[in-house]
């Protein structure tokens, strides 16, 4: 669906706030090129601000709003760089948008939002939603979400999405007017119900299983990472104590003093370097989290298929049983046990008029049933087709993105090692001058 255009999609984002170059590059590579929306428009989430106001129950609350900026592509390429259009939205509005998309396009693997609460935190990070680091990472995640939607061949054409980006007032009303809320509730109910499908599509069953495994393994990975980050922090910080003791020691030495003192400073620098290291690693964790949540979205699509298939099977089953009833009524043989059959046996047969009426009713029902089965069959086929297209698209995207993530992780590790070598070489030089 997405043509491999060679256009450069520039992104307005507040990139000078991002901690490293690699994150910037990744953002560019993650954006799929070629949807008509992105050809027209640049999208970004530039800033975050704290607001206070009265909430639904008339209580004071503090919340964060995010500035969505849009700019026509032509203007930027002309080099004039006009002021972008912008509006403020809070997290709950993003959630509303996503819920709408889930209902409106059940066959799409809808991109996930950044996490609602900080999970898989290591010791130093607070789980506080007001924490500036958390807010910043959320800003990046929200921008990522918008770019994902804007680069999706189906979702990018949605009008509600477009007005989310462009109409500050009245957007919420517009969404509710679609009546998606009612569908959302029944969808949730259906997705959570347990039912058995007789003929599941093998591909979807496998994909659902994949979603389960992906979710499980990424959760594990994030847990290990959090613990490892905690430990690594400890290792680096304790080296700072060397700085202090070398300084004290140098005071009682004559020739050794200078070397010790300088070495101590390098130990302090080493201890301080862990903060940047862990901040960069946080970005990798965020990339993993995105796919953790994507796994959920994939599972939802597979579940929806099951539901569709189940409804088809139910309709078919119902039709079959009605046809059987008709046959029994027409031939007078009772093949299946039914209460009606028993009562007529016990209390006497029906009159020919009654039978005629019943037969007529059944015929109507069978006709309706056949229509329903046809409808549902078509629905199922349609769903399977569209959903599988999007799943294939998702798979390609996932392979690309995760590979990029691993590469950038490796680059991060390399940078960390190089810094370590440099610091210890500096310290070694000081020691050798002792």
């Amino acid at each position: 669906m997405a043509d491999s255009g060679s256009e450069d999609i520039a992104v307005i984002g507040n990139t000078d706030l991002t901690p490293s170059e690699s994150e910037n590059n990744l953002k560019n590579t993650m954006v799929e090129k070629g949807t008509s929306l992105l050809k027209r428009m640049e999208i970004g989430v530039a800033e975050a601000e704290k607001r206070t106001g009265k909430n639904a129950v008339n209580m004071q609350e503090t919340y964060t709003v995010y500035l969505i900026e849009t700019r026509p592509v032509d203007a930027a390429s002309e080099g004039t760089n006009p002021v972008p259009d912008s509006l403020w939205r809070r997290y709950s509005e993003f959630e509303l948008l996503r819920n709408y998309l889930l209902v409106a396009y059940p066959f799409v693997v809808v991109p996930p939002l950044p996490e609602k609460r900080a999970e898989f935190v290591w010791h130093k990070l607070t789980a506080d939603n007001m924490d500036p680091d958390f807010v910043e990472r959320r800003r990046v995640g929200l921008e990522n979400f918008l770019l994902r939607v804007a680069s999706h061949p189906v979702l990018s054409n949605d009008k509600i999405f477009y007005s989310f980006l462009t109409e500050e007032n009245g957007w919420k009303e517009t969404v509710f007017e679609t009546g998606f809320q009612a569908k959302a509730d029944s969808r949730l109910k259906a997705l959570n119900a347990t039912f058995r499908v007789k003929n599941p599509d093998k591909r979807f069953a496998e994909m659902k299983h994949y979603g389960d495994e992906l979710q499980s393994v990424i959760s594990q990975l994030l847990r290990v990472r959090a613990r490892a980050a905690d430990r690594l922090y400890g290792v680096y910080k304790v080296h700072g104590n060397y700085g202090r003791v070398f300084s004290e020691w140098s005071a009682i030495e004559k020739e050794m003093g200078d070397g010790l003192q300088s070495a101590g400073h390098h130990m302090d620098a080493y201890a301080a370097s862990v903060d940047d290291i862990l901040e960069e690693e946080e970005h990798y964790a965020d990339q993993l989290k995105e796919y953790l949540f994507y796994a959920d979205a994939v599972r939802a699509v597979c579940r929806k298929h099951e539901l569709t298939q189940f409804e088809l099977e139910m309709a078919a089953q119902d039709l079959t049983s009605k046809k059987q009833q008709r046959e029994e009524l027409a031939t007078g043989t009772v093949r299946t046990f039914s209460l009606k059959g028993m009562t007529s046996k016990l209390f006497g047969q029906e009159t020919p008029e009654q039978r005629e009426a019943k037969l007529k009713m059944l015929e109507t029902q069978i006709e309706e049933g056949e229509e329903l089965v046809k409808e549902r069959n078509a629905e199922c086929d349609e769903y399977v087709k569209s959903a599988w297209v999007d799943i294939e698209r998702f798979k390609e995207q996932k392979d690309h993105d995760l590979r990029e993530a691993l590469i950038s992780y490796a680059i991060m590790q390399i940078s960390m090692c190089k810094k370590g070598i440099q610091v210890w070489n500096n310290a070694k030089e000081c020691f050798s001058k002792m």
Binding site: L221, R231, V245, I252, I407
Partner: protein, 411 residues
Amino acid sequence: MSAGTPRSLASSGQKNIQDIRHPLCAAEESASIRSADARIHPGSGADTAGGGEKDLSLPNGTPVDTSSPASSSSLLNRLQLDDDLDGETRDLFVTVDDPKKHVSTMETYITYRVCTKTTRTEFDLPEYSVRRRYQDFDWLRNKLEESQPTHLIPPLPEKFVMKGVVDRFSEEFVDTRRKALDKFLKRVADHPVLSFNDHFNAFLSAKDLNKRQGLALLSKMGESVKYVTGGYKLRGRPIEFAAMGDYLDMFTQKLGTIDRIAQRIIKEQSEFLMELREYGPVYSSWSSFEEELHDPLEGVSGCMSNCSSALDELTEDMSEEFLPVLREYVLYIESMKVPTDVEKCQDRVECFNADLKADWDRWQNNKRQDFRQLLTGMADKNIQYYEKCLAAWESLIPSLQDKQEAKDETN
């Protein structure tokens, strides 16, 4: 506090034990101040401490592993740094190696081989190889303290170990002890006065140390003296030596702090290692249900394993080489606190002061070099760790990217 597991006794690793550099070798003779008792060494042509020989060896005889550039260049550095080396002649080399277990009906104990090479005329032969046990070293030290009360006698490793807590026959314990005993003898051998002591000569050369008569009695006497007079050897000395006492106090304290920090780092690193070890398997299990991503994820898993091994080595090195050396220094200083009978040398006070000052200076100089070496070694180990990790990650990148390029080409 070692993070490693005890190895079996026999192996000394891939290197010949002779070639393994002593972690804390007293370096070249560097004190410019000679004590009054020092014999005048005949100026001999062979300068064995110079760097010109094809077999590089440390001044006290331990051959240097020349395959390691770090060790030979640092050796050369130290040789070049010290001006006093030129007039020096080494004529006595001592090593302690080859620990062996002896089992008899009465007891089980370890003996060590003590090898001596010398050109000194005080010795009948140019070479000796004898076996000694810890008791013998203890005897020697007591004798030295007794007969050379004006000098600082180097310390021995701990005499008593709690049975049941420490395995006296584990390779780790035996090797640590061996190193300390080797250090002890080298320090005595380097000492311009102590090395000419008759007891030392006997220790190195006699087939069977005839010591039993005096041993029990003497060690008891030594103990009583220790309890009668407390404080430093320097007590009652002129004021200029009081500063030495203060220095030793503060220095001990700093060493204690460094010991605690190092232990803490080892602990944190071990705990980090535990988590690091979990990464590999998780990435591996992820790769098992991926297609495109199978190889990259396996690659990352392998990388994590390599980093784990590297960290394991670092932690082990710090435990087994850094900490023991640090602690040995603390013991050394402790030993300087134990005095000999002061009254015995009242008539030789002048001589005593000069001896002590000379020993102090050489001790200070040795200490400076020892710590330079120790800390440089610590830095080196950390550098090596990061270099191993760097190599692992760098080798992974092309394999992560290659596929991508191949994939792009086919699109």
